[in-house]
Amino acid sequence: MKQFKLKIVTPKGIYKETDIEMLNLKTTAGQIGILANHIPLASAIDISEMNYIENGERKTFAIAGGFVYVNDEETTIIANAIESPEEIDIRRAEEAKQRAEGRLHQSQSDIDIMRAEIALKKAINRIYVKNNG
């Protein structure tokens, strides 16, 4: 299958730069798959599982929200945090989940509830990717 360039950048630098055959991710509008020669596309990525196929091998990651930009030369993913199943600290994720749940029960203001919901979503996503990735 034809390959295309994928670049993943985070605030800590370039996370990955590689040639892949297919990219699957969940945008805020829904699940999409990207193959080589895709039309230019810009979209926000949901807190979700993301995977790509590199030399026939599927690799999975947990992404804590971000942004994807496809153009003719390469596909770029801008993420605040991205981890492979091996990199996920399951204990930290479980703790974060409990903390977020606790805050959801106690919080009064809308902002606090929204923040706790996002934290909870990230934690659940990490745990899911760790167990299924």
Partner: protein
């Protein structure tokens, strides 16, 4: 004469211990400077990628986008984020930022202060400030930045604030750093003039406005984080430079004092000899 010699000796000792401190500070600042400079380099791909993407989207949709982040709220306060240091002995770094603060900030502005030196300056001038992010310059925690941006964008969307500006210290090179004021929101599209737009026909999923609502907070996070790391780099460079000067000055002073000490010693010896000779002649 003897008391003079002793006082010079005491001064030499005190200058020497000062020199030890400034030398140690200089070494610490040098290694910290290397660390923050690396961090600044690592951040660059992320920062420039986000900026290019924002520029590309704004440029290719000029005039068609009606986004809250691009419009100034006419009434509402101005928010300033000011970056200073928490430690002293860093030359004119803080003083320069203070000058800019004094020039820029009006009485009814909201100030988010980073760094305790700036906080004590504002308290001294009886200006109120938000102190939730005072230690950001030592932790450099990206999560805190995300929280700060969340807070600011929320206020901006609620039309409580009209503008968001940042005062930081630009790192030009190891010897030059200048305080700068930059407007973060509303986004100034003229800043993107030097970025070339490669593709005009981009599909936005679900639409450009929605994409911008996600991308602009990310953009702010990366910009604020970049400026923060840059300011800390400037702080360390400034500290390294002033401590180097202090060490050099101490060395020079020690040299001068040593000369004075030896002169005093020599005078005392000559005096003693002439007294002995005079005594012997008298007999």
């Amino acid at each position: 004469m003897a008391s003079n010699m002793q006082s010079i000796k005491r001064r030499i000792k005190s200058v020497e211990s000062t020199k030890k401190i400034t030398k140690a500070m200089q070494l610490v600042a040098t290694s910290k400077l290397r660390k923050t400079r690396n961090q600044l380099e690592e951040l660059k791909p992320y920062y420039s990628m986000v900026q290019e993407t924002v520029a590309e989207i704004l440029e290719s949709n000029k005039g068609n986008i009606d986004n809250a982040y691009l419009k100034e709220n006419k009434d509402g306060q101005t928010v300033y984020i000011a970056m200073t240091s928490s430690l002293g002995l860093c030359g004119g770094y803080n003083a320069n930022v203070f000058k800019t603060i004094a020039k820029e900030i009006q009485d009814d502005d909201i100030v988010y202060m980073i760094g305790t030196k700036g906080a004590s300056y504002l308290s001294h001038r009886h200006i109120e400030y938000k102190h939730g992010y005072l230690n950001l310059n030592s932790t450099l925690d990206f999560k805190e930045i995300v929280r700060l941006v969340g807070e600011l964008t929320q206020m901006y969307r609620n039309r409580e604030i009209s503008k968001i500006k940042i005062i930081y210290t630009e790192f030009v090179n190891n010897l030059t750093f200048t305080p700068r004021v930059v407007t973060l929101l509303p986004i100034d599209t003229s800043e993107f003039d030097n970025i070339t737009v490669t593709n005009k026909y981009t599909v936005f999923e679900p639409d450009a406005n929605e994409v911008l609502n996600h991308l602009i907070p990310m953009y702010l996070q990366s910009v604020i984080y970049g400026y923060l790391v840059e300011s800390v780099t400037s702080e360390n460079a400034s500290r390294r430079m002033s401590m180097e000067n202090a060490t050099d000055n101490a060395e020079e002073l020690i040299g001068e004092l040593l000369l004075k000490y030896n002169q005093a010693r020599q005078t005392a010896i000559t005096n003693e000899i002439s007294e002995i000779v005079a005594g012997a002649n008298a007999q």
